[in-house]
């Protein structure tokens, strides 16, 4: 029997999840074709807000790479819309005129953002947020525009508003109701949320009914029905979504609010199914992931001829992806004659919990501030557990006595991942069967944790419990033993909560060790300097000895002094001075350094300030995680092969970027021809002069692990070299993990992504401007600064008694 032809319209999360379910049951039953209008493979739409909030990159949101389609023999057509479904011929026509025949068809076209039908809604600068493309447009606009208005204070609107703030915009949210997320939160939780967001700098206009969007060609503002007018250069509509049903309607399928389906996800045509946000089941249209996946399972069972009980609707829950505003909501959230509430409010920690009960069963829950119990209540709701044996409220118990939800005591059918409906039993089974040892592996095999990611902690607990002693604590996600938070989480929190000192960071983010350690102390000091180059006072006590004393500490506790010789160029006066100082202080070793400079080794701490004074030279910062000495060859000036004035360019690079802190040392080299005498190919930023300009290499490291640099581009002028170098430094400064060199950084970020950012003229300029602004904060030679300031010399003094 030849295979049946199955065509999926819509390459999104619901459709692809359904196909995965089908393949799991019958890998060879169908010839599958997937048609998607967006030019991407399936990505995690839920994570778009994380892209906007600078917490994830586009690439990280891809759930099924192109290779997945190939491996499963699926024909994928992207960037093409289906314009007609011809049911009598059983074929589809795409906008490119392609005709595709089907035996079975699944419609998973999802939904569009609902645009308010008010004047001005078509103006340039008005966006409905739904796709990667919308997200990119918003990020792009945010670079040149300052004021944004988000219409709608629901889940999507608030995540969007937070994201636009992270893009540097001033954001006002307009909301029709009296409190935020009124569909999911009661007044108390809604008000708590608003207060926390206001503290982050978000502005609100409540009971705001948008009457008109103002502007000529371009949006300029919003007028409300009560006459209030708000300035805006960008307006995002986040008032709701609308199922995409146009094609289905034209094909004559039965349509309500969505495409109407029965309990087996079949439309009014038995050969056509619909799944996800585009369909309507039992008068309900869902806009969240969990139901889509429930539906996919039923559809897959049915289409492959397996017995199924059918789909009977989903219990849904909501959580918000905004740092510092943990909330959870599920089911009924308002009291009525039959629905009673049990609530706890702790204004010390701003924690609010309310559970809604009907006939001894939980029918809803709202949690704010501490959402750890969300899954437990959600499970009790789904299973219809009685609350009989529970203490309804208890106050002031010792830690651990209440609220402890141990994965150990959970039933096997309890759901761990609510988004994907994965139970404890499924995970435990997969762990045993496939020998899984990390959360990532569990996500890959079972899908648990790969949508909103909130359950990753519980998956970790489950792994630990399942594997017992065999559980190897997987590469801890925290930056050091003091915290479980990653670099990105910490930097995001610094920005979101406006944390100003490293002590504040450790306390607010609740580090295990409030004093920090030699790993996190300098890291957080660096991040604070990076985020607030002018306002954060550098914390000397958190610097490594080298950077605190502006000299390299040696194995016997003495220090080395390496003065600046820009471009490696020196003169007789400097050499004589160095000689005199070496004699005066009886310097044990004078040596040319690896970076073509002269170093005096073996000086005592208490001698340093006097040595610097005697030398009268500037620091080469050969000891720091910052711009290092630039290596260069003699170039065109003397060399018969030289194509460019390399020494001059080396000096210019060193002067332009001196003393700027980077996540790890930042080395540069300028060679005058492809023979590359200064080994530009293993520099963080390497330049090779060629006849028509300069080849730029980035991300080369000659350190512990040798990595050759990647050729970024070729530019014509020295000005362009400087510009690119500054942009690279700033991008590395902003996204690098402290002590991560450029080679692993480049690998982690993706060369193509970095290239795109650096070669985009607008972003390049913005990054360059930022690094030059940061430079203003470290303008002065650190040695001179210490020589001129007696207070700063104190830490060098040694008393003899």
């Amino acid at each position: 029997m030849s295979k049946k032809r199955l065509v999926l319209i819509g390459n999104g999360m619901a459709g692809i999840r359904t196909i995965e379910e089908i393949l799991e049951r019958e890998p060879d039953m169908f010839d599958i074709t997937i048609i998607g209008k967006e030019p991407y493979p399936n990505y995690n739409r839920i994570m778009l807000s994380n892209i906007l909030q600078n917490k994830m990159t586009m690439d990280e949101t891809i759930m099924n790479p192109y290779s997945w389609y190939e491996e499963n023999g699926i024909t994928l057509i992207t960037g093409e819309r289906v314009v007609a479904v011809n049911r009598s011929q059983k074929n589809l026509t795409t906008e490119a005129g392609r005709v595709i025949e089907y035996d079975k068809c699944i419609i998973a076209t999802g939904s569009n953002a609902f645009l308010l039908p008010v004047d001005g809604s078509r103006l340039d600068g008005v966006i409905g947020w739904r796709t990667i493309e919308d997200t990119e447009r918003m990020i792009e606009m945010a670079k040149t525009r300052k004021k944004a208005v988000v219409i709608g204070g629901g889940l999507l609107g608030l995540e969007c508003a937070r994201g636009l703030m992270d893009q540097g915009m001033e954001v006002t949210v307009l909301h029709l109701a009296e409190w935020l997320m009124e569909m999911q939160l009661d007044r108390k939780a809604g008000d708590l949320l608003r207060e926390d967001l206001e503290a982050q700098g978000m502005h609100f206009e409540m009971q705001a009914n948008t009457q008109e969007i103002l502007g000529e060609a371009h949006v300029e503002g919003v007028r409300l029905s009560d006459g209030r007018v708000l300035e805006a250069e960008m307006v995002v509509m986040a008032v709701g979504i609308r199922p995409v049903t146009k094609g289905a309607r034209a094909a004559g399928l039965e349509i309500g609010r969505g495409i109407i389906v029965d309990d087996y996800m079949q439309t009014s045509d038995p050969d056509i199914y619909a799944v996800g946000e585009c369909c309507e089941h039992n008068s309900k249209v869902y806009g969240l992931v969990a139901p889509l996946y429930d539906q996919g399972i039923v559809l897959a069972d049915h289409i492959t001829g397996r017995p199924t009980e059918g789909y009977s609707g989903s219990t849904t829950f909501t959580s918000l992806k905004v740092s510092g505003c943990d909330l959870f909501s599920a089911g009924k959230i308002y009291e009525s004659e039959n629905v009673k509430g049990i609530e706890v409010y702790n204004s010390v920690d701003r924690i609010y919990k309310k559970v809604f009960v009907q006939d001894e069963h939980i029918v809803g829950a709202v949690l704010y501030g501490d959402t750890e119990e969300g899954n437990r209540f959600y499970n009790m709701m789904k299973k219809g557990d009685s609350i009989e044996e529970f203490t309804l409220v208890s106050l002031m118990h010792k830690a651990g006595e209440v609220d402890a939800i141990s994965v150990e005591t959970m039933d096997d059918d309890e759901i761990i991942c609510g988004c994907n409906g994965i139970s404890k039993g499924t995970i435990v089974e997969a762990v045993h069967r496939d020998g899984l040892t990390s959360v990532e592996e569990v996500s890959k095999v079972t899908k648990a944790g790969n949508s909103c990611g909130k359950c990753k902690g519980q998956i970790g607990d489950l792994l630990e419990y399942t594997l017992g002693d065999n559980f190897v604590a997987n590469a801890p996600t925290g930056i050091c033993g003091c915290t479980d938070l990653s670099r990105d989480q910490i930097v995001t929190q610094i920005r979101a909560k406006g944390l100003k000192t490293s002590k504040e960071v450790r306390h607010v983010l609740d580090f295990n060790d409030k004093g920090g350690c030699p790993k996190c102390r300098p890291a957080i000091n660096y991040y604070l300097n990076m985020v607030y180059p002018h306002d954060h006072e550098d914390e000397k006590e958190s610097r490594y000895a080298n950077e605190r004393y502006h000299a390299n500490i040696q194995k016997d506790g003495t220090f080395s002094v390496i003065p600046q010789m820009q471009g490696g160029v020196t003169n007789a006066e400097q050499l004589m001075k160095l000689g005199e100082v070496a004699i005066k202080y009886d310097v044990p070793l004078v040596k040319i350094t690896g970076a073509q400079r002269i170093g005096l080794y073996g000086l005592k701490k208490e001698e340093l300030t006097q040595v610097w004074k005697d030398l009268g030279m500037r620091s080469a910062s050969a000891y720091g995680k910052k711009t290092r000495s630039v290596k260069s060859c003699v170039g065109k000036e003397f060399c018969r092969f030289g194509t460019q004035y390399t020494t001059q360019l080396g000096i210019r690079l060193e002067q332009t970027f001196e003393y700027i802190d980077t996540p790890h040392k930042f080395k540069m080299g300028v060679s005058g021809c492809p023979r590359s005498c200064v080994e530009s190919g293993i520099k963080d930023f390497g330049v090779i002069g060629v006849e028509n300009g300069f080849e730029i290499f980035i991300g080369g490291n000659g350190g512990t692990e040798i990595v050759a640099a990647e050729l970024l581009t070729t530019v014509e002028t020295e000005d362009e070299v400087i510009k690119l170098c500054g942009a690279l430094m700033q991008y590395y400064r902003e996204t690098g993990i402290y002590t991560e060199r450029t080679a692993p950084w480049l690998k982690r970020m993706g060369f193509e992504n970095v290239k795109e950012v650096l070669l985009d003229p607008v972003r390049q300029q913005a990054l360059f401007d930022k690094v030059m602004d940061a430079k203003k904060a470290v303008e002065k030679d650190p040695w001179q600064e210490i020589i001129e300031n007696e207070e700063k010399q104190k830490i060098f003094e040694v008393e003899r008694v």
Binding site: D513, K514, G515, G516, C517, P518, R521, K540, E541, S542, Y544, A545, R548, Y549, I553, K555, D556, G557, K605, K794, I795, E797, V798, E799, R800, V801
Partner: protein, 104 residues
């Protein structure tokens, strides 16, 4: 046991919070530390691992991390909780009229 000898080694105002100070007392190198709790600690300045100068290390809570290889030393007891090195000698500190005295 001979009676402990009290010696003035520095003024409180010479100390910088969380940055160690090296003093040499009768040929013995001693590190003085002003901790976050505003307490002054004194230990022998030589790290039991490879002899690094503890005064140049990172102060965190009641611990000092050696600048050479991050050996963690307890400023109160002189122990190295994460390694099995010999204890570092600690000295009792007394502050009188803004002067730091240690008991040798």
């Amino acid at each position: 046991m001979p009676a402990a000898e009290k010696i003035k080694v520095a003024n409180v105002s010479d100390l910088v919070a969380l940055v160690g100070k090296k003093v040499i007392v009768k040929g013995e190198e001693i590190g003085l530390f002003l901790t976050e709790n505003n307490e002054i600690k004194a230990v022998n300045n030589v790290c039991p691992h490879k002899g690094g100068p503890l005064s140049e290390g990172t102060v965190s809570g009641d611990f000092i991390f050696c600048p050479l290889h991050d050996t963690k030393v307890d400023l109160c007891t002189g122990e190295t909780p994460e390694e099995d090195y010999e204890c570092v000698r600690t000295y009792e500190v007394e502050v009188v009229d803004g002067e730091v005295h240690i008991c040798l």
